[in-house]
Amino acid sequence: MDEQDLIRLAAAGDLEAFERLVERKRERVFWIACHIVGDRELARDVTQEVFLRLYRVIGRFRSGGPFDAWLHRISTNLSIDLLRRERPHRDTAALEDIPEGSADAPPPGRAGGQESPAGDALRRREIRRIFADLSSLLSRKQRLAFVLREIEGLSTGEVAAIMQTRESTVRNHVLQARRILQEELRRRYPEYCRPGRT
């Protein structure tokens, strides 16, 4: 069954069709939420809220329209809402997670040339924490454009559709975000900017 049929049936109240739609879309929704809120558990909660919201409003979706852009706009909006609510708590938790002297310590994972699943997971967790830290310096739109285009790998056109703006504006946001992240990475985390550390 193709996606449009699933959407049509789900809009008519068919739970089975809606669940199949959820299975197809949940991973992308989850990763978008995860890159914005910076926490897997929270992102999974957001994913559930996104699909609950989708179920409430799917009847308003116009057949043949850009469903993914619509769904991802719900995802980004709910993720940002949650981030605003959770910000004080998240900041505290992030600081507690940082071991003393971590800025001078070599990055985990591939730093020593040894690769292991545990080392990779640790390194990704650390990079996620760094991104959560530095992306708070970006404007909401810069952050969204960077997450969707650079990390999630969507095209500029897809990002523009989600953000309801022009492609040139998206390119501008990404360019600004990259510049800020480059500068702050060099300043705060120089150990991650050296070749051989990736």
């Binding site: 789900a10 809009a11 008519a12 109240g13 739970l15 809606f18 669940e19 959820v22 299975e23 949940r26 991973e27 990763w31 890159h35 999974r44 994913t47 559930q48 699909f51 609950l52 179920y55 409430r56 409003v57 799917i58 009847g59 308003r60 979706f61 116009r62 591939r110 997971a121 390194r123 990704r124 990079i127 996620r128 760094i130 991104f131 960077f146 650079e150 990390i151 999630e152 790998g153 095209s155 500029t156 360019l175 975000a177 990259r178 992240l181 480059q182 990475l185 060099r186 991650y192 900017c193 050296r194 070749p195 051989g196 550390r197 990736t198």
Partner: protein, 187 residues
């Protein structure tokens, strides 16, 4: 130390860092960098933000979604049928274009109707009316007597004010001067 990068991508990396690649090529390079640690290392010094490409789609644990559908289904069943389908017509672009024209027209009609049917009927339009010119009573208060006599002073009676007029000069160089006395003028 220069890192070894993949030969098919290596010529594009400088342009990628400077943002000079066309959209499609840039996306290809970015996708490649997301999965290739050697190429990421090759551009890391020039563009440290490629570090975050490592965050792209890491594998999730097998049991990550366990229970997700069950919990969601319980909440969906509590929700009932999807709402909002009765509003689907409102998102149609044809309807929106029509609404842009119809809404101002409806507003004009509504305001016009309210004005016409309000109690007391339409607001009367003021009509200019010619006012009767009051008759002035001119009388000379003092008469000149001789060439060095003071100018003649005349009193002009009017319904609301008293106007005194006298003339200075003589021949073709006469200048009338008026005094207006009105008790309603508050100086």
């Amino acid at each position: 130390m220069r890192q070894t990068s993949c030969p098919e991508v290596e010529p594009l990396l400088s342009s990628f860092v400077s943002g000079a690649l066309p959209e499609a090529a840039e996306r290809q390079v970015r996708d490649h960098l997301a999965g290739c640690a050697a190429c990421r290392a090759a551009v890391l010094e020039r563009d440290p933000s490629v570090l975050f490409l490592e965050l792209r789609r890491e594998p999730l644990p097998a049991d990550f979604w366990a229970g997700f559908q069950t919990r969601l289904r319980a909440r969906l069943e509590a929700e009932g049928r999807p709402r909002g389908s009765w509003l689907a017509w409102a998102s149609d672009p044809g309807f929106r274009r029509l609404a842009y024209v119809a809404a101002p027209l409806a507003m004009v009609l509504l305001i016009g109707t309210l004005i016409l049917v309000r109690p007391g009927g339409p607001v009367p339009v003021p009509v200019a009316e010619r006012m009767p010119v009051p008759a002035f009573d001119l009388k000379t208060l003092s008469a000149p007597s001789g060439p060095d006599a003071p100018p003649a002073l005349e009193e002009v009676g009017s319904p609301s004010a008293r106007v005194y007029r006298f003339t200075v000069g003589s021949g073709g160089d006469e200048t009338p001067i008026y005094f207006v006395v009105d008790s309603s003028i508050d100086i």
